[in-house]
């Protein structure tokens, strides 16, 4: 069994036995793609009562290299409104790119994204949304995000 599946197996059992509030595993049938549902638990009017679906794609180089993480529209889901989340589901978050560290886990990344949503009060997309979405690569990891600002 290759190393990364062993680690993912552990993460999965951990996610299932000690689930964080608002984060649940929707689908994890293999060690390639996992779907994680996240909810923002405080009463942020932008996201209250909504469930967003995150897609994690792993490579054999996980966890040395970051997984590919994005929001997906599935079963009527939607992409949360956020100045750092493009309408195609790509997320501009440093821990998914240059800020990745192999000690991060699916749970910790989900929590980062959850808190990123919780701390937002702007009902808008990134300023270059239309341009980016028109020419975006399939994998958000191929995008070299320039972090607009760290205030949001």
């Amino acid at each position: 069994m290759p190393g990364y599946t062993k680690r993912l197996g552990r993460e999965l059992s951990d996610l299932k036995t000690n689930p964080a509030v608002g984060i649940s595993v929707f689908q994890a049938d293999d060690f390639r793609i996992w779907l994680i549902d996240i909810q923002v638990m405080d009463d942020n009017p932008l996201y209250v009562g909504k469930t967003f679906r995150l897609q994690f794609r792993f490579t054999p180089t996980y966890p040395i290299e970051a997984p590919e993480v994005q929001f997906i529209r599935s079963l009527g889901g939607e992409i949360p409104m956020h100045p750092h989340i493009y309408s195609n589901g790509h997320i501009c978050l440093d821990v998914l790119g240059s800020g990745w560290s192999p000690i991060q886990t699916v749970g910790s990344v989900s929590m980062s994204i959850q808190s990123m949503l919780a701390g937002n009060d702007r009902n808008e997309r990134p300023p270059d949304d239309a341009r980016y979405v028109a020419s975006a690569p399939i994998s958000p990891k191929q995008t070299r995000f320039v972090y607009h600002d760290d205030n949001v």
């Binding site: 062993k6 951990d14 036995t17 054999p60 966890p63 040395i64 192999p102």
Partner: protein, 454 residues
């Protein structure tokens, strides 16, 4: 679960406090127990292979940093963490036994005692008795025989069910004793508990070896003696052992775990250490040099340059981590590991291309494709108007002309560079021709077919 152990295995057992111990003996990168733990300058410990891979994956333009605190990390500054390595080894050895004991009902532990007992007692009852008994224990005589040292009240309780008192010690809220209990098999904590309970008879009988004489072995030297003696003997025994280790003298009767633990590094030092492989500055190697470097190392030398580099990087990490290991693998095994790694990567690459990516790409870019088709059609439409007036000769002319051009380009080749340029231009011409042919054909065919019908 039997293969993948996890700190969370301890939740729900009688020893949940071991969760933290378990998790702190694990590498934060692979989440497994440390293998050849190495410490960074910022005092964080990782498996040798994990931290090496992590450093190797950092782009050369950036400085590698600690995965935990992001302090700069230099591979050359990594230091072996021997204490952690030993801790992991002994914890792993004992883990299964502790786990079994921690999951068992206290009742099961009393099995060796059952020979003299007959009844069961509920755990709440036991707890109640335990508390009572702790007080009693203080005043108890240090007699060895299970019966003789008991207070009258205890004896009365015992008469009904002797087992009660045996279980009692193992079913305690107190963690220090709780943790000690599972070590039954490993002998050592037996002594601690029995020492703390001052000659509690139940522990003597509980001994795994089932020593009927009430003797317990010293955890250090394995010599059997009464619990009281162990208490006194232990200090001396430790000192003795340390002195022995200093002299590296072998004692025939001492086979306890502590001796092996401390003597291990000494024996390892005598072994000739494996040589570490240096990293390569790949920019300084052209393809053939890199290939010969790989052949030199006994590695496969096929593949693209990227593959060669990746293979070499992985091999250096694998090799150096293996050199750090106390039980190094053979080169053959390492090569197998490398092969596994590579086939995994390859598998992933194939999946990536074949999977929904292409379909997704097609879907997301369908607008672009439609747009291109529409534009191409419009262009053809423009051309078609004059062509229709002149008939099909127009296209033929065009084709001939382009072929002519291509033929012309052939003899003109003088230099290699030129020929490449021409090839490229030829290719583009070809593609253009092809596009025109197809489009004009489709547009021209209707009259032909209508002719045929007529």
């Amino acid at each position: 679960m039997d293969e993948i152990s996890d700190p969370s295995d301890w939740t729900g057992t009688r020893l949940p406090s071991l969760l933290m111990l378990d998790s702190s003996l694990r590498c934060r990168i692979c989440k497994d127990f440390f293998k050849s733990p190495f410490m960074t300058e910022c005092a964080h410990t990782f498996c040798s292979l994990c931290i090496r891979k992590c450093i190797a994956s950092t782009p050369t333009s950036e400085a590698a940093c600690c995965p935990i605190c992001r302090a700069p990390v230099l591979e050359i500054r990594l230091r072996r963490n021997q204490v952690v390595e030993d801790l992991v080894e002994w914890f792993e050895n004992a883990r299964a036994a502790i786990m079994t004991t921690a999951k068992e009902e206290p009742l099961v532990i009393t099995v060796p005692v059952v020979s003299t007992a007959s009844e069961c007692v509920s755990s709440s009852e036991r707890r109640g008795r335990k508390r009572r008994r702790d007080n009693v224990d203080e005043e108890q005589s240090t007699s060895l025989s299970p019966e003789s040292g008991e207070s009258s009240s205890r004896r009365a309780a015992r008469r009904g069910s002797r087992k009660v008192s045996y279980e009692v010690k193992l079913d305690i809220g107190d963690e220090s004793e709780d943790e000690a209990a599972p070590f039954d098999h490993g002998k050592k904590p037996d002594v601690r508990s029995s020492a703390s309970s001052k000659g509690d008879s139940s522990f003597i009988v509980l001994d795994d070896d089932g020593n009927p004489d009430g003797l317990v072995p010293c955890p250090v030297c394995n010599v059997e003696m009464t619990p009281q003696e162990v208490q006194i003997h232990l200090d001396d025994c430790f000192k003795e052992q340390e002195a022995k280790q200093a002299n590296q003298s072998e004692s025939s009767k001492s086979n306890g775990p502590i001796r092996t633990l401390q003597s291990q590094p000494l024996s390892k030092i005598t072994k000739k250490p494996l040589q570490r492989l240096p990293k390569l500055q790949y920019d300084l190697f052209n393809d053939s040099k890199l290939r010969s470097k790989l052949v030199e190392l006994g590695l496969p030398a096929y593949g693209t340059r990227v593959q060669l580099q990746q293979r070499h990087t992985e091999w250096v990490s694998l090799w150096n981590a293996n050199a750090d290991s106390n039980n190094p693998k053979t080169k053959k095994q390492l090569l197998r590991d490398l092969n596994d790694w590579e086939s995994n990567l390859a598998k992933y690459a194939i999946q990536k291309v074949s999977a929904n990516d292409l379909a997704a790409w097609g879907k997301t870019h369908s607008n672009d494709f439609d747009d291109l088709i529409a534009r191409a059609k419009k262009n053809v439409q423009k051309k078609l108007d004059p062509e229709q007036q002149r008939g099909t000769s127009g296209t033929v002319e065009f084709n001939v002309q382009s072929q002519h051009e291509r033929q012309d380009s052939g003899p003109e080749v003088v230099q290699k560079l030129d020929s490449i340029d021409k090839k490229i231009s030829g290719m583009t011409e070809e593609r253009m021709d092809y596009g025109c042919d197809v489009l004009t054909d489709t547009l021209i065919t209707p009259p032909v077919s209508s002719d045929a019908i007529m």
